[in-house]
């Protein structure tokens, strides 16, 4: 192994890690949520690059397809559907809350880093199988991880049906007074919201 390859690996890792961390900080603190959503896509892509660096090309492809292609697009759709520019009123004690939560998160980070650097990891582990990973993944899915694999498919079906039921609006229902069918989407605009504002 020439040292050039190792150096390249280190440089690529540093670039990807910087992209992940800067992008993630941008996602949580940028005021415009559309920028946040696009930065989130960048974070997902950088994480896929990290997976490639870890010799896991199949997971990297799945990450790009599922996260960038599905989840991020879904989030962008939600932002466009909920396109209300509202000035969020100031709430009491927000400064104290930020301070406290920053302290908690920094403490958690310190704890995790301490565990990371004090544990004697058993590296190097067993030899890697590299590009044979896809074959190995398939064997795992259809032998010792068969039950979770099938349960995941049931979970996806449940999530799909649940999302449709929760988000649909045009339920045909019968009017209580007249008994004739009414479109809920038409009457929804004129009535008051179902869940009333709770005034403090």
């Amino acid at each position: 192994m020439p040292p050039l390859a190792e150096l390249t690996q280190l440089i690529v890792f540093a670039l990807l890690a910087a992209a992940v961390l800067v992008g993630a900080i941008g996602v949580v603190i940028l005021p415009n949520i559309v920028y946040s959503a696009f930065l989130l896509g960048g974070v997902f892509l950088a994480v896929a690059g990290l997976y490639l660096l870890l010799n896991a090309s199949f997971i990297a492809a799945a990450q790009v397809l599922i996260y960038v292609g599905a989840v991020n697009v879904l989030i962008l759709f939600a932002i466009m559907l909920v396109n209300k520019r509202e000035a969020m009123g100031a709430s009491p004690g927000v400064g104290l809350r930020r301070l406290l939560s920053s302290g908690v998160c920094a403490g958690l980070l310190l704890l995790l880093l301490r565990v990371t650097f004090t544990t004697a990891w058993a590296t190097p582990g067993p030899p890697q199988i590299g590009e044979g990973a896809v074959i190995h993944l398939g064997e795992h899915f259809f032998s010792d991880y068969l039950l979770p694999f099938e349960l995941a498919s049931v979970l996806l079906l449940m999530a799909m049906i649940g999302a449709i039921v929760l988000a649909r609006r045009d339920v045909l229902s019968a009017d209580i007074a007249t008994g004739e069918a009414v479109d809920q989407g038409l009457i929804e605009k004129s009535r008051t919201p179902l869940l009333m504002e709770k005034t403090p």
Partner: protein
């Protein structure tokens, strides 16, 4: 096959930082969509951890990659259901401000 010149601790550090940024965003976001994005960040941090352990400590069996696939599946389902709940909440309350979702508060 390529050797791994990046130490395992570097991946774990990135993953821990990503998770903590996600927790911070989860607590401090007022916009409900941003809360969902923070959850995705946390799930990605966990996934980096799983993948790093799978490659460094379990290179011949890669069970961590199997778990990463399951985490990605659950994350996709969570995003779909979460955004559906968010849309119906927005339809009923006409806001996405987390401070005003106080219906279940005493």
């Amino acid at each position: 096959m390529t050797s791994l010149s990046v130490p395992l601790e570097a991946y774990l550090t990135v993953a821990a930082s990503l998770f903590c940024i996600g927790v911070w965003g989860l607590i401090n976001s007022r916009n409900a969509v941003r809360v969902l994005m923070s959850i995705e960040l946390m799930l990605n941090g966990v996934n980096i951890n799983l993948m790093a352990f799978s490659t460094y400590l379990d290179g011949s069996e890669i069970r961590g990659q199997v778990y990463a696939i399951f985490v990605i599946t659950v994350a996709a389902a969570e995003a779909a259901v979460g955004l559906a709940i968010l849309l119906s909440l927005y339809r009923n309350r006409d806001t996405v401000d987390m401070e005003r979702f106080n219906l279940l508060r005493w």
